[in-house]
């Protein structure tokens, strides 16, 4: 048994790593820094840079020596002179800027460069040469050529001799450590169980999540258990009356329940029971009775699918040989159903139940945001609407890891109950 558990735990590791990788790929590689969305279109470049610095977005993705900086956006002068517009002595023509000979120019950065690291300035130009003040001259030639300048602070550059035509300029920050990357930053933070800081409330994500878990569970636990008991009872009912109109009615009923959109349950329930009939408060989270309406809606919306599933389970069980034997020996129909069938059907029921437990923690995304219950679902929807990457990522990650653990627990339960499983 212990060996089996050990093996299953080892098998869990790649999946957890996979989930970490997926969240990283999704939010860091595909998404990139949400600074602009969060801080608005008019935010200053140094504020954006600070935002990135705090969340590690200004590092290379996996590994690398160079990383972009918001101090100077890459410019290729295709359409405009960009930041160089209006700088004295600079002329823009046809996709290049020309720095007149004899002048001294400073890169028009948006904020002062950091003093704790070096920068790499890449200039693609031709004709003449470029000098950094007090350094040797870097030669450009007739053909387009890229030159790299190591700069520490913003030194002036000066075309020596002839004017210089420049096609593109890039500024990169040089990392002192090639492994100082977003991925390592992410892993290190996870190792410290640090989920970062919410960008909309500036609170620690772990605190927000701890605050949210209580209300989430208060709603989700009753929905879960009442839903489970109701659907198992109804499925037994169907199994007992199988092939009669009662059973057929419930089959159609469950498919119909499944087909009602979740939103309709919520909007309709809120309107009818909360507003029109006034049985329940419509919105808020002040007393226990505020939970009643969302819980009721949650139970109803899940009932269809669960009833269908458990009915199949029960009917599968009822076709087994032991049921026939029990009936042949004269056991009553009810006795067989409750003593034998239900007991054996517990295995798939437990599996389904344990697997569903992690979803308790996000509660219901929609129910919570509609009824103003300050749980994790509410938090999640708000975070998605305000591009709060750290919060969304933390909820996704914790949810997935809980799911993996629940999977493990189911398998262990299985192995404990059914000795055949271990042999596989």
């Amino acid at each position: 048994m212990l060996r089996y558990i050990g093996k299953r735990i080892l098998q869990m590791i790649p999946t957890v790593f996979g989930v970490i990788l997926v969240t990283f790929v999704l939010f860091n590689m595909v998404g990139g820094s949400p600074a602009q969305q969060v801080l608005g279109p008019h935010a200053q470049a140094d504020t954006l840079e600070q935002f990135d610095e705090q969340r590690g977005f200004n590092k290379p993705l996996f590994i690398g020596r160079r990383t972009t900086t918001r101090a100077y956006a890459d410019s290729d002068f295709e359409r405009t002179a960009g930041d160089w517009q209006g700088v004295n002595g600079v002329v823009w023509t046809n996709g290049t800027i020309i720095l007149a000979a004899g002048g001294e120019y400073t890169l028009p950065v948006k904020f002062a460069l950091r003093t704790d690291c070096k920068y790499d300035l890449e200039i693609e130009g031709r004709a003449g040469g470029i000098t950094m003040l007090g350094r040797e001259q870097l030669k450009l030639s007739k053909d387009w050529k890229k030159i790299h300048l190591r700069v520490k602070t913003l030194e002036k550059i000066a075309p020596s001799g002839a004017p210089v035509e420049i096609r593109s300029i890039k500024l990169r920050r040089i990392m002192s450590q090639p492994f100082d990357s977003q991925f390592v930053f992410y892993l290190t933070r996870l190792a410290h169980l640090d989920f970062g800081v919410s960008s909309s409330t500036n609170q620690r994500v772990s605190k927000l999540m701890l605050d949210g878990i209580g209300p989430s569970l208060m709603l989700a636990v009753p929905v879960f258990f009442i839903g489970l008991i109701t659907s198992v009872m109804l499925s037994l009912f169907c199994a007992f009356w199988r092939d009669t109109w009662v059973d057929r009615f419930f089959v159609v009923f469950s498919v119909a329940l499944m087909s009602v959109n979740y939103l309709v349950w919520i909007v309709g329930g809120q309107y009818l029971l909360g507003f029109k009939l006034g049985w329940f408060p419509v919105w808020g989270f002040e007393a226990v009775r505020y939970i009643a309406l969302p819980a009721l809606i949650g139970i109803f919306s899940g009932l269809g699918a669960e009833l269908r599933f458990y009915r199949t389970v029960m009917l599968d069980e009822m076709h087994r040989d032991y049921v026939r034997t029990a009936q042949a020996k004269g056991a009553s129909r009810t006795g067989v159903l409750f003593k034998h069938v239900l007991k054996n059907a517990m295995i798939p029921i437990i599996t389904n139940t344990v697997i569903a437990i992690p979803f308790l923690y996000t509660g219901s995304l929609l129910l919570e945001s509609f009824f103003g219950i300050p749980g994790l679902g509410y938090l999640g929807i708000n975070a998605i609407n305000s591009s709060d990457v750290d919060v969304v990522r933390a909820i996704v990650l914790v949810g997935s890891i809980l799911f993996v653990i629940a999977n493990l627990l189911t398998d262990i339960c299985y192995a404990a109950v059914d000795p055949r499983v271990k042999l596989k």
Partner: protein, 295 residues
């Protein structure tokens, strides 16, 4: 297969025809499909003429008209005809259902086939991949992808498409594993056929019914998700999606404007129910082994 040498498909069709409920559902699905095609035609027409379509034109004097002969389903807050907007919503729903399937099905089939056929390391990798995706909470994952990709239809397509291939992948993997050991595959191997040919020409047609059933059952789920996403303001923003219609009808419902809400609800319910029942019937007709109904 019967003695007459009927193909799997004609056999299945015969079985399906006997199921009256399934035929009614097929009729409803055909009706929705026609509505979607009509919606697409209207949309393309106004796109080509570069005009504001009539279902988008606002007329505040006509706002909140209850159903009448002129507007069979009434008008909404901006005086637009609810029925025309419902038809446009059908168009969006079909688009989402079909495009997400076009993303999810190839991924699921490809990985499922490879894993089932080769086993070993390939199988380990595919199982790792789908168990990773399967362990991420569904709706949250979809919403997160949509958030990252950006709001709009693209976010919906990618969010739903990239997360819903797991079930199909599992089924196909299992089916291919079963078929791998069968005589016709061994014969094909003995003839020296290449593996892509064996896999995609010989095995795949034999497991194709799984894809059809999955598509029919995934379609309503994708539509429901789209409705939720558009409602939350993450999906469609400029076109009349059902989710947006529910959102705008929600507040007015409290003031007694019942028609928009009612008709949108009915439209979604009808489509989803028809597809769900049809999917079940198809499963029973195509593959009696996969039956869920006990009788």
């Amino acid at each position: 297969m019967s003695e007459k040498g009927n193909s799997l498909w004609s056999d299945a069709w015969r079985r399906l025809k006997k199921n009256r409920l399934a035929m009614v559902c097929l009729g409803i699905v055909a009706f929705y499909t026609l509505a979607a095609l009509y919606g697409e035609a209207v949309y393309q027409y106004y796109q080509a003429k570069d005009q504001t379509a009539f279902y988008q034109k606002t007329d505040l004097g006509q706002a909140y008209q209850p159903p009448s002969a002129g507007h069979l389903m009434g008008t909404d807050a901006l005086g637009r005809d609810v029925m025309q907007r419902l038809i446009q919503g059908t168009r969006i729903a079909y688009k989402v259902g079909i495009i997400t399937a076009l993303i999810a099905i190839p991924i699921g089939v490809f990985f499922g086939c490879l894993a089932g056929y080769f086993g070993g390391r390939v199988d380990d990798f595919v199982v790792w991949l789908y168990s990773t995706v399967a362990s991420i909470p569904g709706l949250l994952f979809i919403l997160a992808i949509a958030m990252v990709v950006g709001k709009g239809l693209l976010g919906i397509y990618l969010g739903i498409g990239l997360t819903t291939w797991v079930g199909l992948c599992r089924l196909i993997r299992g089916e291919v594993m079963k078929h791998k050991g069968q005589a016709y595959v061994q014969a094909a191997r003995a003839l020296g056929l290449s593996w892509p040919r064996i896999l995609f020409r010989h095995i795949l047609p034999n497991v194709f019914h799984v894809i059809i059933v999955t598509f029919t059952l995934r379609f309503p789920a994708a539509v429901s998700t789209e409705v939720i996403m558009s409602f939350l303001g993450i999906g469609v923003a400029t076109e009349p999606s059902w989710g947006l219609m529910i959102n705008s009808a929600r507040m007015r419902l409290w003031q007694g404007v019942w028609w928009e809400m009612t008709f949108v609800t009915l439209a979604i319910f009808g489509l989803v129910l028809a597809f769900n029942l049809l999917g079940d019937a198809l499963r029973d007709a195509l593959d009696p082994r996969l039956r869920t109904e006990g009788n």
